[in-house]
Assembly symmetry: C2
Homo-oligomer: 460 residues x 2
């Protein structure tokens, strides 16, 4: 099984619609073959949720549904995948033939993208023949996890910036190409203004933005030459002033303004190192004294929500932020304990009883109860209960076909996030841990059902 | 620029060889147009390195070169990308036509994959016409960053396991599809035994492994039924015993052994929750007493190098580990301050002088000096110096064509990592911060050259 004799070029090291069925854990396929052998083709219900919020989060912002629905609609094993599976020596021909025709024909309910979500409440539920629902686990989790983790981090940065635009500079240090692409999408949901990532701009029709790099300044013999040339081509650009000495760089921008007179239309300067608060103040003073109050100050370099909040609260005259790595990897909470659990099979509720990992059986609904336009609590209930408040889970696929709620656009998701975040109590929108945390309660009927199923399982 | 009128389906939300040229920051393209307008087509040297090790790392394990070489060999703007760029209203037709024919024709030197690397030492250097080298920055960083971060984390987990196999279970919570795919590759370099990720197995010819999920056990009315059915199909499988009560699960495996007699060939049991050390001891005792000393114990659930070390050092009778999320996101150090900096243009050394971000000019070489088969220090030198020790940077592409050193296989990288890690001093291979850290020194000539370039820049 070594790579010794392989060329690096075939197959291409990319995930696409064509090979996504193989982006799964081996055990999903061995279990599928077992279900098939045992004639287990009953309907399974799987529920996607997280057990606890990361310590540094008061809510998560749900994102990534689009990628999941696309996957489920297209799910199939192409020849290359079947040949690979055959090569493993674990699967019989008849089972592999059954995979050829496997399609996702189940039902899916989900919370809309851009909804703030809390622990133990289902974000998505799948009811489908067990093979279809089981197989999807790894991909569904991978895509919802990355987008939800990154959207949740970005929502905090946006909140900290208090209305100042935040631009995504994360591409170079996000975890791989897909995180950079889907992350830019998740950031858009969370209220990020624009991304530097051109492919994300292309694929998701996002606003793109950028300034200039140190290398451009360095490649010129004089900083002033770089500023003059770049401004000639892009009159309304933002000039990066910290390659050598930040305040000297700002003064060069002032000189350029004198040189160009009315033709000077530079939009701003970017500070990317040093004490950003102090430098922003000095830069503002220099620009204002030179009669350039319209030249904005853009700050970047090692920023996250805490640093942005510190700058904003400290009154630093910064007009916009570029945020890269720490938002790009969600540095303080890079993972979420998202799980995808079987809650019913063949019409019977299922649980497990591993310590700390208990689960609620059956299909469910989440009701968000609000008072005075502020969220008060979520109630987890069985899917046929009615409780006060808005039901959050809505049908998005039925028998494998996309329903209207599954067609929400990215713009819808962004608008929803803005509206829903405004309806969270202040303490949840703060960067500090909310006390008390948001209450999520289990309905009496669901709790009784859980006890009933646990008792049945204990007797088995 | 909203997504309102777009369908979710075109273009596909995946990065591939075809669209990878657009996986770059907008400013790379605006700079490229500026270079083109200014007639700046001179050779640029860019150097990829990181400034500081994360606090919890004594070395990083270099990985990801394969993806970079593939990208550089195939780099081109296809029609869709050019149409998108045209739509931004920032680029003139003549420049876009020049992009049509842009290919990477430069030279690349790199440290071999699987080499332990340290701060400030170049991992990769590119010398190419400035447009080609500038454009590549975002992609090169993205791919080297994720693989190096994940390989480095995995090397620690492998070290902690002290020879016990470690299997990658990270797919579901790694950051997106590409991180899961490339991460499995990086893990292989670092000495991970196998991955659960089938697509990674397919693409990189990696050993794949897996057991069974709780859902399979839950879908059966009795745990014993699940064990019996799965074992019937996969006699040498590993049974997951913690769905309800771990030790009761182990006893069910014992019962199955009695039932099957000589036909019982189950390889092991997997513990996935609770106090893994205590449960492993109890499980071992139960299995041994039942005359099943050959049934192995496999542990998973919330593991990282610290927890694995604790279990191993505590003498827990665990034969292999499944490690997922915390290794999958490199939870304690999800990012590295990897940078890609211009160090020469048109034959002249370049630096910047932003505080804390100084750089060393020109093309360089890194010499690793060893004594008694143990690494003693790295020396950073100009590319034409000779120092004692092994030069680490070797040419991998020349004028855009792959050289022999650029064809190293993944098996080579894995073997190299094992050999090179064995040549690190003990204190660097420990999980705790090494005191003193590994010394990286700058040669006198390189330091003099840096001072010379800084003086020139200061006068400009």
């Amino acid at each position: 099984m070594s790579g010794r004799t392989r060329t690096a070029d075939d197959p291409a090291p990319w995930v696409t619609d064509e090979n996504a069925a193989l982006l799964t854990d081996l055990y999903q396929l061995t279990m599928l073959q077992a279900y098939w052998r045992e004639g287990m083709s009953g309907e399974a219900v799987f529920s996607l949720y997280f057990r606890t919020l990361p310590p540094a989060r008061n809510f998560m912002l749900f994102a990534g549904l689009g990628a999941v629905l696309r996957y489920l609609e297209r799910l199939r094993f192409h020849t290359d995948a079947l040949d690979y599976l055959a090569s493993l020596g674990l699967f019989c021909d008849a089972f592999l033939r059954s995979l050829e025709t496997l399609r996702f024909r189940g039902d899916v309910w989900a919370v809309p993208e851009g909804t703030p979500v809390f622990s133990n409440a289902p974000l998505l539920e799948i009811a489908a023949p067990i093979a279809e629902a089981q197989l999807a686990e790894s991909f569904v989790m991978n895509q919802i996890h990355v987008q939800t983790v990154l959207a949740s981090k970005a929502a905090r940065v946006v909140a900290a910036a208090q209305g100042r635009p935040v631009v995504d500079f994360g591409l170079r240090r996000m975890h791989g190409a897909d995180a950079a692409l889907k992350g830019a999408r998740a950031y858009h949901v969370a209220g990020i203004e624009a991304t530097s990532n051109l492919l994300a701009g292309r694929v998701f029709d996002l606003p793109v933005a950028g300034t200039m790099a140190h290398s451009y300044v360095q490649a010129h013999d004089r900083e002033a030459d770089a500023f003059r040339a770049f401004t000639g081509l892009y009159p309304e650009t933002i000039l990066l002033v910290d390659s050598y000495d930040t305040l000297a760089g700002v003064r060069r921008v002032v000189e350029l303004a004198r040189e160009l007179g009315a033709a000077f239309r530079v939009r701003g300067v970017r500070l990317d190192s040093g004490d950003l608060g102090a430098l922003a103040r000095e830069a503002r003073r220099i620009l204002d004294q030179a009669g350039l109050p319209g030249v904005e100050i853009f700050a970047s370099g090692g920023l996250d929500e805490y640093r942005v909040a510190e700058l904003v609260q400290g009154g630093a005259p910064i007009d916009a932020f570029g945020v890269g790595t720490r938002m790009g990897v969600s540095a303080d909470a890079p993972d979420l304990d998202l799980v995808y659990k079987l809650t019913a099979y063949a019409g019977t509720g299922r649980v497990k009883t591993s310590p700390g990992k208990e689960l609620l059986p059956g299909r469910k609904q989440v009701f968000r109860f609000e008072q005075d336009d502020l969220a008060v609590r979520d109630v987890l209930a069985t899917c046929d209960e009615v409780h006060p408040g808005r039901p959050l889970l809505e049908p998005v696929l039925r028998r494998g076909e996309r329903l209207d709620a599954g067609r929400a656009s990215l713009a819808d998701a962004r608008a929803r996030a803005a509206a829903e975040l405004a309806r969270l109590p202040e303490r949840l929108r703060a960067l500090e841990p909310a006390a008390p945390p948001y209450p999520v309660v289990v309905s009496e009927r669901l709790r009784a059902e859980q006890l009933r199923v646990r008792a049945r399982v204990a007797g088995a």
